[in-house]
């Protein structure tokens, strides 16, 4: 997603992991962790000159 934002022309792209995000069920959470699944906060700006 970070790369998609940059490639689409966004500037000042920032991302941070959302703390405390988790799936309710342990089995789902374990599978998610195995695939590196996480929630992230992304901010970016459309350039003034776009």
């Amino acid at each position: 997603m970070f790369r998609l934002l940059e490639e689409s022309g966004f500037a000042r792209v920032r991302s941070a992991v959302v703390p405390r995000f988790a799936f309710r069920k342990a089995s789902t959470q374990n599978s998610a962790e195995a695939f590196g699944v996480k929630a992230v906060m992304m901010t970016a700006q459309k350039p003034e000159t776009a």
């Binding site: 998609l4 959302v18 309710r24 789902t28 695939f35 699944v37 906060m41 970016a44």
Partner: protein, 203 residues
């Protein structure tokens, strides 16, 4: 090649139906247990302002199914136009409307027309006015360069065409406009069996 394209279109159709079913179920039966946290429990987990949750309509809070808190970095100002992509039952749009004030505009977009009606009803309970358009995030039904801030919470990951969604977000933003989005990402390539499973994808 046409077979592959047909298969993709078929899978997208099934996925759309599953997404509609899943999130309609959260809205209709918020007391049910899902494999993701939802409702007030989830909102508090993500540091939503408790006074805002008390002030928001109970139905909007109970149906909340976000994965984070886009308001923490959105810095929405009075008079701004905000687009909530995948507005669901309306909690994020309603909170945004309290920042824009009456001189601003909040627009929701949701795949499910029934959710748009529900979100607008929730907004009306708080005295807020919210536009809501039923439509796809791959073809956002909003004019180009008409929005100051796009917020979204756990929605873009549901699309097969994420690049297209990001391009659409870029299109609707005014120059200098900004996004504050929370969503799910994967650090590894998902197996084809997961990609082809609408229930897992819609999760």
């Amino acid at each position: 090649m046409p077979d592959a394209i047909d298969a993709q279109a078929s899978l997208e159709g099934v996925l759309k139906d599953e997404i509609l079913r899943m999130y309609q179920e959260v809205a209709d039966n918020p007391e049910a247990e899902f494999h993701f946290f939802h409702g007030r429990e989830a909102a508090e987990l993500f540091d939503y302002d408790r006074d805002a949750l008390d002030r928001a309509p109970e139905g909007a809070v109970a149906s909340f199914a976000g994965v984070g808190n886009p308001h923490l970095r959105a810095s929405i100002q009075a008079g701004e136009t905000v687009l909530d992509l995948g507005s669901g039952a309306g909690l994020d749009a309603i909170i945004a409307s309290w920042s824009t004030g009456p001189s601003g505009t909040v627009i929701g977009v949701d795949l499910n027309p029934a959710m748009c009606i529900k979100a607008q009803a929730h907004a009306a309970l708080t005295g807020s006015v919210m536009e809501c358009h039923a439509g796809r995030m791959e073809e956002i039904p909003v004019p180009s360069e008409s929005v100051d801030v796009v917020i979204s919470n756990g929605v873009i990951n549901l699309s097969f065409q994420k690049r297209r969604v990001v391009e659409e977000v870029f299109r609707v933003l005014r120059p200098g406009g900004r996004i504050s989005i929370t969503d799910i990402v994967s650090g590894k390539q998902l197996s084809q069996s997961i990609v082809n499973d609408p229930k897992l994808w819609a999760s």
